[in-house]
Subunit: 736 residues, 2 copies
């Protein structure tokens, strides 16, 4: 009843046409505060001048005009993700944001009126709302949406739309909307949900961004201070602390690429607002400019525009996403880095802001430069000491061969139990894959669009990744809170020479188990693409079963081993920890002579050749067992298995070779050019030798020590090998 | 030994440098005969002028220059498809053809010399060859290749290259190559392989084209006559008879789209040569211009540039293929149809001939018009009376919704047992699929690149298609010779109104069984894409099990029925006829209320809703059982099954709906808008009614008779329905 009274008051005032001067704070302006007047003026003046921006205006006009035509619909919240009320409130904040920006651009008051009228309806509805009826136990309930995260997103968009039209309102309407929509919402999302707001987590970033911007727009410093420093304003939480703890010094965001993409919008949008209203904070220079680094790092963690699907991630998520249009525009306005223009060009979109206008203007002026995709280590952890992602690229383009070693820390609740896993891309395709998340975003029939149960039972589990599994259990027993406490150590990385190397070590993922993995991207004369060399050494304190899965994308064309196949009755590999989801196609004992499999992916052959530990077997399988609801994609995998060993060394080479051209009907190089892999353990190093069918060999010497100055000596095939530092490569008679 | 003597003679003559005037026929020119001098002159003059042609010259130069640099290699034949000698002889004919054309274009004698020197090596090798060592029993052995078909292709390319440089040769070289390469090859492929040459089959077309063009180049009328009318010159076989029997009046080629693509090259190339040398034959006007129709029909039978994968077909085969570059160029030179230019543009390629120059010239001049993809019936059979392919398109583009009803005759040995099957495309994707062929073309480890055993055990079988299966056996008991004798009847087709309809009937595919199928592409107000309505009525003379499989591409998001799942031990559906390759995921009893499945393909939802016959059940499964060699793709299928019925009517609607946008993270319309399907059988017709959730209904009235003037009457829901002709549609209160 208190709420009802509140929203009736202004309406009554409006009805009787009385001015209520007390409603408008006399010392503050009602005008836009999130962008400077000059920028807004330029945006309005040149909106039609540059194609990318003009298209954005046209697109937004179409969307908002349709919303105006359809009539305002602010339904009582009811449905979960994907349901009507969920989608309608999403449409509303987009329309509100769009209407505000269009009003600034076109000056057409119909947009301001539409935004006002919609917000007046929210001013009626919002005060009446309690917790959302479709809320669940895992996520904090919102009011408009099933989880408060979506309410925060509403606020981030809504406050920007509101800022753009607030100066057009009557004082009564302004106070009504200030009080009954934005102040209430910001209050709910801060002091009303401190358990979210004070997290060091992207959900809190969205909340802080919404609340903080509301503070600027409503000239309410309390909201700004809480947003920056937490509800207690101690600085132990809040936006600044989030920047401190959620990013590494390299701009890597702890939850991984997919969530970095998601989190970057509130970080950048709020930073932009801070920069506008509190320029003395130099927020873009904060922590050595980490927010601007984060934009570039987010882009680096993509292939052909799609995010590396590490941790909880949807495979179809690319740089073409609202968060990144904003981030790229803001980043460009701050840095004028021409490489960001080529990203905007690929996106084909930009933000409907003064920053977006700059992007469109400079793109039209031909200032774009190719984005320099790099072989680099992106360290994880606030101090960069919790492992990292090692990206090794065959070239500076985004469709070459890219090897990604995932040596990061847990990454909180969306992290996967995938310590020291890897993936590989080539020729525009995933080759060695990561399942990503088990989720159909916003598809209501799939658990309301939320993460599926199979995200826990399969996608997060270690066996769903390309890394060591001990005794059919996952890292940290699949407890992310435990995983949060220990991170891998990145022993070595080299990305600036043709041969690229990453070595990392993990201890504590299983009690008593330590493993170390070196992944090498190895160009060899005569091979169109570099080979991938994988050396994984595990030490355990008691005998165990070690599995090394390989998830590949392609069609098997040749097997070196003779498979004992289950062709008429397909068993399941295990009972739990993801193994319950694996159908077994067949198994075979492995030896050094037979341990290879060749598959075809689009136009190229890939041979995975193992040097198996003694007694190893191979299991070929497919995902999809115990999946009555068809929640999983039916993808193939290979598992190399050793049982009863304390120590084991897995060596493998993945060799891209040949070409299959369906247009020309030609095939070349469908046979592997590897004759053998050999491995020798010396006193302080591993030697991996690859012998080629066409003659010659390459030996990789990998020392235990990462000391760049330490000398090492070994002898192989009667030849002395001497090198300094962690890694060396010795070529013998390799001919193109 | 006879061969050895023969090839020694010219060498000896060469060695002693004697002129041998008797070798050159005094009354014939050595100059090019396959293209007219004016065309060749224009091609040389303007080669660099038009981008498409200039790129073709550059590409060919690169290929031929590399071949020249690598040195001539004419190996003794040894390997099967994909192996070195196979690929080298393929490379040789391409290089030979390219060198000839480049010589004509550039005048650079190095190309003529290269072609000459390579042919002189063939002149040494060829006479020594017997049957190819890798030949198998199924295909006629070649000499250079494992099957004589490839030898024919060699000759088709080789003779064109030779024609272009023949006037540069010394009389001795010319006679040597004439006699020891081309005359021998043409002799071998005609009188030496009459069992192929006299077939009415694409293998014979390639042979006739090679032999006939050799006849023109060598001025040997005997070869020309045999090529046109068979080895006995009776006209019962040979090229003209092939045109008569292999094409329907609509230009449909009996083996289907994939083989039409393949066969069209020798048809067009030889026709072009005939037109040049025997213009009085008016070969392009022959049979009402069927060869030119065939070009357009080949293009019509594609989606997004890829051939409908009916019969034996590889999914990755598109219009970007050498055969079609030639065909489009020749077709354009004959017709100047600007729609063919847009195809050349999509191909990005053209022929290196005077015809290709015309294409490049007119494309550069901006004369291209969009190719008018049509809703049309392409009749099968020499007289158009053996069924056909009914293509129903939502629009004239090539990425809309396309429904294809495959009501053709057998199509010889590459035909599938798929009577009255259908496929569907939408938004650039296959939605309801055809497996195509089980083959990895030229991939040696997959049975030498030949058709796999699974092509017989799976891909050709009826259950691998979207059509009726009786008692788990295939049409004609999977005997194509039997299938060749009976064809479906296309009862009705209407493609020129918004609602598109195909009705066909098949009798004799199983003893005592007749079935009739109507497929309708049904636009409905408010639905972005037309619905597909499927009515299949079967009558058998004894109780049987009727299966109706649906092969779909997408991920299941919702099931109307409660599946009894085999989630921990996956059984195989059957023992033979393709059923041995189906894993069973689960089964469920069906009723009118629950019989629906929704899947997601890229950005759209598809709901398949059945009106099941009494007692029907559904089986969900996946391909891949009894496939120890991983020869099959692991794709999903649904089977609707009725047991113990003589007569059954299957009614189903496939409804594309909604949108999933991963960039914008929005989902709309993920729920079906169908409330129910109803079916009523009247005295002489079927009524199928679709009731919509949003209100209203559409009733399709499908009369047994195809008589366009026959009147029909029925009553439904107390309302009288009267219509004339086979098909009518009654909308009631359907609102957008």
């Amino acid at each position: 009843m208190r709420h009802a009274t509140l929203w009736l008051a202004p309406l009554t005032a409006l009805a009787i046409g009385l001015a209520q001067p007390a409603l408008a704070a006399p010392t503050t302006s009602a005008g836009p505060v999130l962008f400077d007047p000059a920028g807004l003026k330029a945006m309005a003046a040149d909106a039609a001048r540059y194609p990318l921006f003009a298209e954005e205006v046209a697109r937004t006009r179409k969307m908002v005009d349709a919303a105006i035509k359809a009539g305002i619909d602010v339904p009582v919240p009811k449905d979960p993700g994907g349901g009507f009320t969920h989608e309608q409130h999403k449409r509303n904040y987009m329309a509100l944001y769009g209407a505000g920006m269009l009003y600034r651009i076109t000056g057409d008051v119909k947009y301001a009126h539409f935004a006002r009228d919609m917000l007046l309806q929210y001013a009626k509805l919002y005060p009446t709302l309690g917790p959302h009826p479709a809320a669940n136990r895992e996520e904090a309930a919102g009011r408009l949406f099933w989880q408060s995260l979506n309410d925060s997103v509403w606020l981030v968009y809504g406050i920007q739309g509101y800022d753009a039209i607030r100066d057009t309102l009557s004082p009564q309407d302004r106070k009504n909307i200030d009080d009954n929509v934005f102040r209430r919402m910001a209050t709910f999302l801060s002091t009303g949900r401190p358990e979210v707001f004070n997290l060091i987590h992207n959900h809190a970033t969205w909340a802080c961004a919404g609340v903080g911007m509301t503070g600027y727009v409503l000239h309410d410093q309390n909201f700004v201070d809480m947003a920056l420093k937490g509800t207690d304003k101690s600085g132990k939480s809040g936006f600044l602390r989030q920047i401190d703890l959620l990013f590494s010094p390299d701009g890597y965001y702890t939850e991984g690429p997919y969530y970095e993409r998601y989190a970057i919008q509130p970080f950048l949008v709020f930073a932009r607002a801070i920069d506008e209203n509190d320029p003395g904070r130099h927020i873009f220079q904060y922590r050595d400019g980490v927010l601007l680094k984060a934009i570039r790092t987010t882009i680096q963690l993509t292939y052909d525009g799609y995010f590396f699907p590490l941790n909880d991630a949807l495979l179809d998520k690319s740089l073409r996403t609202a968060e990144l249009y904003q981030a790229v525009a803001t980043g460009y306005a701050e840095t004028h880095d021409p490489a960001l223009l080529s990203i905007a060009k690929w996106q084909g979109r930009t933000a409907l802001t003064p920053d977006g206008l700059e992007v469109a203007r400079d793109l039209a002026a031909g200032k774009a430069k190719p984005f320099p995709y790099a072989s680099a280590l992106f360290r994880d952890g606030p101090e960069g000491k919790q492992g990292g992602i090692a990206v090794m690229r065959s070239d500076a383009g985004d469709t070459g061969e890219v090897l990604v070693a995932k040596n990061t820390a847990m990454g909180m609740g969306h992290g996967h139990f995938d310590k020291l896993s890897w993936i590989l891309y080539d020729d525009g395709h995933p080759i060695v894959t990561d399942y990503g998340a088990a989720r159909f975003l916003n598809v209501e029939s799939k658990e309301g669009g939320r993460y599926l149960e199979e995200n826990e039972t399969w996608a997060k589990q270690t066996v769903a990744h390309n890394t060591l599994v001990v005794n059919e259990t996952s890292d940290f027993d699949a407890d992310w809170h435990a995983g949060q406490k220990v991170a891998p150590t990145q022993i070595y990385f080299s990305g600036d020479r043709p041969t690229k190397v990453s070595t990392a070590e993990m201890a504590g993922a299983w009690p008593g188990v330590t493993f170390r993995r070196t992944l090498v991207q190895l160009p060899v004369a005569g091979n169109a693409r570099p080979l991938i060399v994988d050396l994984l050494r595990v030490h355990g304190d008691k005998p165990a079963t070690y599995d090394l899965p390989l998830h590949y994308s392609g069609h098997i064309v040749d097997l070196g081993f003779k498979l004992q196949s289950h062709v008429t009755n397909r068993p399941v590999l295990g009972k739990a920890n993801g193994y319950q989801h694996i159908w077994v196609d067949g198994t075979a004992p492995l030896d050094a002579g037979n341990a290879r499999m060749t598959w075809l992916t689009d136009g190229r052959f890939y041979t995975y050749r193992m040097l198996p530990p003694a007694g190893a077997e191979v299991i070929l399988g497919q995902i999809g067992a115990n999946d009555a609801n068809f929640n999983l994609r039916r993808e193939p995998l290979l598992i190399e298995r050793v049982t009863g060993a304390k120590d084991a060394t897995f060596v493998a080479v993945l060799e891209p070779h040949g070409a299959y051209d369906p247009s020309a009907e030609t095939v070349v190089g469908d046979k592997s050019n590897l004759a053998a892999i050999r491995h020798v353990r010396t006193a302080d190093a591993d030697l991996v030798t690859i012998d080629f069918v066409s003659g010659g060999s390459v030996t990789l010497a990998i020392a235990d020590s990462a000391d760049a100055d330490a000398g090492h000596h070994a002898s192989l095939d009667g030849r002395a090998l001497d090198w300094t530092g962690h890694f060396a490569r010795f070529d013998t008679g390799v001919t193109p």
